[in-house]
Amino acid sequence: MKYLMHYLQTDMQKVILMGILAALMIGLSIASPNFLSITNFTNVLLKVAIIVIIASAANLLMITGNFDLSVGAVLAFSGILHAYMSKHGVPVELSILITLIVAMAWGGVNALTVSVLGINPVIATVGTLFIARGFAFLIARWDGGANIMMGLPRDFVDFGRDPVFGLVPLAIVVMVAAVAIFIFIEKRTALGRKAYAIGANLKSAKLSGINTVGIVALLYVLVGLFAGLSGVLQTSRVGLASPTVGKGLEFDVIVAIILGGTSMLGGVGSTFGMVLGALVVGFTANGMVLLGIPFYYQTIAYGVILIGTLLLSQKFGTRAKA
C-alpha cells in the first residue's frame, strides 16, 4: 500500500497513461465491435513495434540528454539498402548484416558530431537525416525507380512475414526483446546508471570519471542499429522498400518517449513509460481509423493527447513546485 502510494506520487505520468489506455480500450470496445480481437491487437502492436524498437534505444539516449532526429531517414535508407543488395544477388542474411553495420555507421556519424565534436544534436542529426534520406532516394534511383520491389527474392519477404514459432510476427518478438534489453540495461547495468548520471549532470559525470563521450556515442550507434533493424523488418514485411517511409518517425519516437515521462534534458525517464506512451498513440490512431474519422481529426487528437497527458500529470502529479 505504501509502495503504491509512493508509485502514484512519483510516477503519475505512467499512471495517467495507463488510465488513458484503459479508457481507450473500454471506449473502443464499446464503440467498435471489431476492436477487441487478436488480429487487431497484433496490427496495433506491429505498427507500434517500429516505434518502440527504435524508442527503446532512443529513450536511454534521451535520458543522457541527447536525441536523434535522423531515425526515420536511417530506417528508410536501411530498407532501401537491404532491398538493393538482396535484389542484386547478396544473400538475404548477409545483406541484413551489412545493412545493420551501415546503420550503425549512421549512428556513428551522429556519435562523432554530437558526442565527440560536441555539436548540438538538433543540427547534427538533422544533417544526418538529410544525407541519409538523400541517399535513400539515390539508391532507389540507381536501381532504376522510385522504390524497390520487383526482383526481390522470396526469402526477403519471408524474413518479415514468417511468424516466429508460427505464432508471433518477428517484429513483435524483436520489440519485446528490445524493450526487455533496455529495461535490463536501465535497471541492472552500470551503463544504465551512468546514462542517467550523464543526463542529470554532464559535468559531474565527467568529474566522476564516467566516460561521457563513449557512452553517448555508444547509444547513438545503438539507436542507428535499431533504426536499421526496423528498416529491414519493415521492408520485409511490406515487401517493398521505399525511400519515403519513416517521414516524421522521429517525432513519433520522441512523442512516445516523452509521453512516457522521459525528460528531454535527460536524467529521468523509463523504458516502461515509453512503451505505454507508444501504446496510447498506437491505439488512438487505430481507434480513429476503426471509427472512420477523417485524418485531420487524428492529427488534432494526437496533439490533444500529448498536451493533455502532460497537463494531467502536471495537475495530479505531486511535484516539488517552486
Partner: protein, 348 residues
Amino acid sequence: MQVQSKLMSLVKNQNFVLLLIFIALNVYFASATKSYFQVGNYFNMLTQNAALLFTAAAATLLMKTGNFDLSTTANLAFSGVLYAILAGMGLPLTLAALITLAAGSCFGVVNGLLVTRYDISPFIATLGMMFIGGGVALLICDGQSVRNGLPANFMGLMRSEVLGLPISILIAAVGVTVSWIMAEKTLIGKYAMAIGSNKNAAALAGINVDRVVMGLFILVALCASLAGIMTASRIGTGDPRVAEFFFMDVIVAIMLGGTPLTGGRGTVIGTVIAAMIVIVIGNGLNMLGILVFWQTVIKGVILIVAVTINEKFSFEKLRDQATPSKGDAGAGNGQTMEEWSLRRGNIL
C-alpha cells in the same frame, strides 16, 4: 589602434565565420552558373523567403530564452487558409488580415500559457500545437485549398512595390530590424538572454519571466501568422499544406546562427546570415540543376560542416579554448530545486 581592435573583435565574432561561408557560397554559385548572380535572382530569393527571415529573427529572441516554437508551420498554414476564407467571404483584406493575425496570435497565447502557466516544456507544448493547428487548418477548409471568391487584389500585398523594392522585402527588412532593436537595444533582449542563461537568477532578480516568455511566444506567432498571410497572397490561394518545413528552416537558421536550443546566447544578425546561407544553398543548387536528392545530401553535409566550423573553429572559440576555463559547461546544467521541479517531466 582603435581600428585594429575593432577589426579583431569583428574577426573574433562568431558571425564573421558565417559571413565568410555566405560570401564563399555566393562566389561559388556566381562563378558556376550565370543566372545566379543577378539582381532579379536575389530579389526572388528575398521575396520567397521574406517570411522565413523575419520569423527566424523574432524566434531568435524566443530561443534566447530557451524556448522555441515548432508550431509555426501549422500557424502559417492555418493563417493562410483563414485569410483566404475571410477574404473569400468578402471581408476587406485589411480586416481579414487583422482577424487572421488575431487568430494566429492565439497559437502564441496557447503556447505561452502551456509553457509558463502549466510548466509544459516548449517542445511538447508547441509540438502539440503543431499537430492541433495543422489539423485545424485542414479541417476549416476540408482539406482543399481555398480560392473561391477571392477578390482581385488578393495578391496585391505581395505584388506591390515601394520605391522599386518588393513590399515583402521591405516587410522582411522592417521585421528583422525590429527584432534586432529589441534584442540589442531594449531590455527584452537582455532579459531573454538572462532567462535562457539562468532562469532562476532572472526570476530572483525580479524579472517577470512568464511575461517575457509569453510575449515572445505571441510575437513569434504573429510573425508566423503574417507569414501565412504573405504566403497565401504570394501563391494566390489558401493552401493548408503549404511550407511544410517552415518550422525546421526557422530553427535551423537560428541554431546555425549560433543560438543554442537552451538559449542564453545568440544574435539576430547571426540568424539572418544563417538563414541567408540556407536560402542561397537552396537557390544555387537549383540553378546548378542538381538533382533534388543530391541537394538533400549536400544540404545535410553543409549543415553539419557549417555548424562544426561555427562551433569548433570560430576564432572566439579558439581563444576560449586556450584558456582553461571551468565556467563554460555550466550554463543550462544548473540544478537548483526549482529547476529540478521544472525538469521532472515538465520540461519533458
